[in-house]
Assembly symmetry: C2
Homo-oligomer: 140 residues x 2
DNA sequence: TCTAATTTTAGAATAGTTATAATTTAGAAT
DNA sequence: ATTCTAAATTATAACTATTCTAAAATTAGA
């Protein structure tokens, strides 16, 4: 909590209650929330919160490398406070996004015909699968 | 061309000039166009073309496995008529999407703690890099 | 040629996100 | 403690991509 405040100060951000609430919600959160998920959560405590505040803060956090924007869901963006390199597996039925922690750095190398043209920066691996819950639901 | 028509017939789709134009534009296209890219292209020949037609046809083609929807760009969807398994590399400066043909099926395996929960369906690998053109432009 | 079903079209509607301008607040300086 | 200024929040409008709707047009088969 003090760390939270220190972290914000370091980054040249003013400490507002809304901001703290957003940060607290995100910290350690592995649910990959969308802006709306965050909005709905914060709204419980700050009913006047605006979407603009959510997006402003996400922007500030993104710029400072505290949050990653995940572009897997074609409907909306999701946010991930875990900035360690990791990958995701998405259930093709319920669309839930889960983390995959595994180092593929050796295994996944660009072929030469690509490295001749591109200076590599990084990679994301998205797996698709059916989660246990959806398997149980069976059929379709 | 005849193949095109045959292909559509097989799939239970009526053959309209707009549809043919869309299919012809997509066939063999490696530029990963967005709906608007397609719209603008078709508009040259069919000025009355509507976005609804573009989306309708993309939907029809998606359902029939002729086109894949790519969710890499957080702004909009892109479409890829190449349904062979392959991956992509995106220039982090100009956002151009390029193909990567390389088989990572052996290298990229889900760790056990994931396969216990998920029945694997597939994966996408997105690489990020800076293309030669953007490298030349230097600096920023 | 006639008809039924499908497709196209224009335009409205919706969802997610960004921009704007006024008001409020945090935090530094006094 | 009070004042001040920059930054943050808010309500709202605007914007972009996409989907929906209903009417008109077109395809393909009888």
């Amino acid at each position: 909590m003090k760390e939270l405040i220190a972290k914000y100060r370091e980054k040249g951000l003013k400490i507002t209650p809304q901001r703290l609430a957003i940060f607290k919600f995100l910290e350690g959160n592995t649910s990959h929330p969308s802006a709306e998920d965050i909005y709905r959560h914060i709204k419980k405590t700050y009913p006047a919160i605006s979407f603009a505040t959510i997006y402003n803060n996400l922007q500030a956090l993104k710029e400072r490398g505290e949050v990653l924007e995940i572009t897997i869901d074609s409907q909306k963006r999701h946010y991930d406070p875990n900035t360690e390199p990791h990958h995701h597996i998405i259930c093709t039925k319920c669309n839930k996004i889960n983390d995959v922690f595994h180092d593929y750095s050796e295994a996944v190398r660009l072929p030469n015909y690509i490295t001749e043209e591109f200076k590599p920066v990084g990679n994301h691996i998205d797996f698709y699968g059916i989660c246990r819950t959806c398997q149980k639901k069976g059929g379709r």
